[in-house]
Point group: C2
Chain length 307, copies 2
């Protein structure tokens, strides 16, 4: 087996463990009452069976790089994916981005209905915090609760999304001038906060040192920006079938994006810069750790991504 | 000063402390970036300046009755009120109950817009868990995180709301026959879960015994049902100006309610039964505790409530 195959195998194994745990978390067993099946079906539809599982894998990577046994960190991996899934369900709503397709399937409010989609998002967000309760000690649950809530809330994910929507719909009283600085501020929260907290949670569960947490945080910050720029580029240059959602929407809606502000070529250069920064941030970790090699590969693969 | 005045004074003092803490929790200080003001304004609008603060007061009552110093429990009181406020903002949305008025003021999506209201709800739910982080120890944060998430989620508040909406909008595949049992099941979650967890959190923070927690839980369960029945009665018999929202909607929408299923008189009798059960559940607590007297008064006042 070549090294590339070995790395791919290991990644698939980790992804499989996440998938299994996500399924388990949505098995409500005895407490399920007949009339609630619609909610459970819609939660399963929105959380399971698709998605790259990047954020939960980052929890596991953060954990392993800091010496953890990754099984301890799996509940946190599920939590982060639940927060991600909830945010997609709400972002797709008609009052927000109004999207009909996500990952090649109907969005939750199209497959079910708007009321169900609002409640599915709410339920997944609450479930994320319930899932943290499965972590090894109450002290770790407490720390992770604070970290995840901060990343998910008004100064993190929701704040970034609010700014993004406000700028798209012209909801601001003051007219802000589009600038790379402002765009970066939005994305550090909208995309970056959850990626960073994924790595941090993994590290915290492994009882990492401050130096290790800071290194992973720096990696996450740079990865998040590279991810967002390549996402913007995909919207301009990608293939709708491969990506699995409607493209060229940013341009139609006059959205602030990296390509719109910098042009394609300069955006690609920026993405490469952040990819390099991210990889350099991992210098303190041993090069022989298999998972570090996988992480570097995932990071490099952002350049030229097709979905 | 008469005893009634003394009790009222104490209640106002407790309510004032909750109000102050809620204001403090929405002061983001340095992290606030200019472009996010809309979100913060809408969060303040939805959380501050109105509401009976029943649920946060229950946190404090639970805490004091179990021997706690209630200041320790104030962050949990804020958390529970944030969960309550988020659920109202989302319930009022056009895709859900489609209400224009709440507590005599425009609902969040009417005062701002739908996208903002969705995000305000999300942000308040996340903030509830961040607020728990202010509790006295990480262990207590961990326990409260699990309890609150369970009460807020698919098997609690959101589950009850889903069943309520599904029954109203005929979203179920099977046709469920309206029955008091099913109605009770919905309300035990839609209203009861948050009231019960409020009392439980207060008790847990006071390091209560199992017996004390169970007694408060039994109180909360019965109070919740009495509260819901009197709420249904208000919708039939109340004054729109005093209540501060549109009434007689239940009937228009063919909603399952206690008066619809049992008639007015029998609903009133049921409410009285639950009020008595609730008060009896408090028997294990010393009658001389001022806060027990206030709690009994609040419970009795459900009969004949005007808002």
């Amino acid at each position: 087996m070549s090294e590339t195959d070995l790395l791919q195998d290991r990644l698939e194994q980790m992804r499989g463990d996440v998938e299994l745990a996500l399924c388990g978390a949505l098995d409500f067993g005895d407490v399920k009452v007949a009339i609630s099946e619609r909610l459970i079906d819609a939660m399963r539809y929105s959380l399971l069976g698709s998605g790259k599982r990047l954020r939960p894998l980052f929890v596991l990577f953060g954990n392993i790089l800091c010496g953890g046994n990754y099984t301890d960190a799996i509940p946190a991996a599920c939590s982060v994916e639940m927060v991600h899934a909830y945010s997609l369900v709400h972002d797709d709503l008609p009052a927000m981005d109004d999207d009909d397709l996500r990952r090649g399937r109907l969005t939750c409010h199209k497959r079910f209905d708007e009321a169900t989609a609002i409640l599915v998002g709410d339920a997944l967000l609450a479930l994320a915090f319930e899932e943290l309760g499965k972590l090894p000690s109450l002290e770790i649950v407490g720390i992770c609760c604070k970290e995840l809530a901060n990343a998910a809330g008004a100064t993190g994910l929701v704040g970034g999304q609010m700014d993004d929507v406000a700028n798209e719909k012209n909801l601001n009283v003051k007219t802000e001038k589009a600038s790379i600085d402002l765009l970066e501020q939005i994305h550090l929260r909208k995309t970056g906060a959850l990626i960073r907290v994924a790595l941090r949670l993994g590290a915290i569960i492994a009882k990492a040192t401050k130096e290790q947490i800071n290194a992973l945080d720096e990696y996450g910050k740079n990865f998040g920006l590279a991810f967002q720029i390549t996402d913007d580029l995909l919207d301009e240059l990608g293939n709708e079938k491969t990506v699995g959602k409607r493209l060229h929407k940013d341009k139609e809606m006059n959205k602030w994006t990296y390509p719109a502000l910098l042009g394609i070529k300069k955006s690609q250069d920026e993405a490469k810069k952040y990819v390099n920064n991210a990889i350099n941030a991992l210098n303190i970790f041993d090069n022989n750790i298999t998972e570090k090699k996988i992480l570097i590969k995932i990071t490099k693969d952002l350049i030229g991504r097709e979905k």
